[in-house]
């Protein structure tokens, strides 16, 4: 169901009093796969992606992350295997859509949430990816060219998988109103031209804590658990787990 961005207003407020409790984790039998379009070489999105996976693991455990065999952003991405961060990192056997899809399918046989990083350019032509695209959430920025790219990813996912659930999480904004406008425009376009509903997954904050997280290779949730960026990650992860 659509989510009101006002729900996440507290990210920008001083330490909230009486904040909503964390949503419950997923049904362990559902084995959902969340596909996140992740451009190669995009450091900020990569950092948000990995921090989000760690935040989800801290809430519910059993999170597996599926990526290409050679992560482009070694300062951000953890090593393959079960790491101390609570996530299991699985690399596809080859940098091909079919290998990524196979890896995600294998990961989804176990309980818990599977998050797959999908190069957006693959969405255009890779029918092999279709099984991966039942649930796609884009990390969207407000700049026009970024919004076009986010919409293009959603459109391709919708064309590849007619039943795909589509969502967007906004980042790179300075004000809540800017995030709200960004989401509203994406949602309106998706509704009008794809005849689909776009689910809001709130917004993330890419502030100095994210830079520190990149520099220190430590997730924000561990280094700065009380920071607004960490709280935003936890809340977005909670929304994802709730919908998984």
């Amino acid at each position: 169901m659509p989510r009101d961005l006002a729900e996440v207003l507290h990210y920008f407020l001083p330490d909230a009093e009486g904040r909503a409790s964390v949503p419950p984790g997923p049904d362990p039998a559902s084995h959902p796969v969340l596909a996140v379009p992740l451009p190669r070489g995009d450091l900020v999105r990569s950092a948000l992606f990995w921090n989000l996976a760690v935040a989800a693991a801290r809430l519910a455990g059993g999170v597996r992350v599926v990526t290409l065999p050679a992560p482009e952003d070694p300062p951000v991405a953890p090593e393959p295997g079960r790491g101390p961060l609570g996530i299991e990192v699985l690399h596809a056997e080859a940098a091909e859509p079919s290998a990524l899809a196979a890896c995600a399918r294998a990961a989804a046989r176990s309980e818990g949430l599977v998050i797959a990083a999908v190069p957006p350019e693959w969405l255009r032509k890779a029918a092999d990816l279709a099984p991966l695209l039942s649930w796609v959430v884009t990390l969207a920025r407000p700049e026009p060219h970024e919004m076009l790219e986010s919409y293009a990813a959603l459109k391709r996912a919708a064309l590849q998988h007619p039943e795909a659930r589509l969502g967007a999480c906004v980042f790179g904004v300075r004000r809540v109103a800017q995030a709200q406008r960004t989401f509203e425009r994406l949602a309106l376009t998706v509704e009008r031209h794809l005849d689909r509903e776009l689910v809001s997954y709130g917004m993330l904050i890419d502030d100095v804590q994210l830079s520190r997280s990149v520099v220190s290779r430590r997730p924000i949730a561990l280094s700065y658990p009380a920071a607004p960026a960490a709280r935003a990650l936890t809340d977005v992860a909670g929304m994802l787990l709730e919908d998984a």
Binding site: P39, P120, L148, E149, R185
Partner: protein
């Protein structure tokens, strides 16, 4: 209490005017974010503010994060400072530069600076901070990465024609008034 950086600042202070863009010092040893010390707040000839941090020997990658935090802290206060002293000559509309001075900057520091803000962070090497002989200061932006990151265009490297977006979709996305009122 003795400021451990005081002696280092005394050695370096005179060098700030020797850069390609000579710095005019506005404040020294400023108590910034989290009560940590900012070595200097300065202004470049064109009015761009500059936050300067000094490290003796090799810089730690964390210096970039500290510098980012301190630059943000300064930027939040520039407007107030300009009200108090309108003649500072600082242009608020230009993002402040972060200048990190050290005896050497290892690759990880350079990579962090590049990833965080390649245009807004300058790494400078001062031989006297490495214990070497005194030479004219050398300031340069962080080295380019081996593989250039996408610029202001599409991060995927695709052109607009590859996006399969119709003119109608583009108009809705970028031009149509947002529906509903802000909630």
């Amino acid at each position: 209490m003795t400021d451990p950086h005081g002696a280092i600042r005394a050695r370096v202070r005179a060098r700030l005017g020797g850069f390609d863009r000579p710095l005019r010092i506005l404040a020294e040893a400023v108590c910034g974010e989290a009560d940590a010390t900012i070595d200097w707040v300065a202004v470049e000839p064109d009015g761009r503010a500059c936050v300067v941090l000094v490290a003796e020997g090799e810089s730690e990658p964390g210096l970039v994060a500290v510098g980012l935090a301190q630059r943000a802290w300064i930027e939040r206060r520039l407007a107030d400072w300009l009200q108090l002293a309108p003649t500072l000559g600082v242009r608020r509309e230009v993002r402040a530069r972060l200048l990190l001075l050290a005896g050497a900057h290892p690759p990880l520091t350079a990579a962090a600076a590049r990833a965080a803000d390649a245009d807004g962070i300058t790494l400078a090497v001062l031989p006297e901070l490495a214990g070497g002989e005194t030479r004219p200061p050398r300031a340069e932006p962080p080295r380019e990465p081996r593989e250039r990151l996408p610029g202001p265009g599409f991060r995927t490297g695709l052109g607009e024609n590859d996006l399969d977006i119709t003119p109608e979709e583009r108009a809705t996305l970028l031009d149509a008034p947002p529906r509903g009122a802000a909630s």
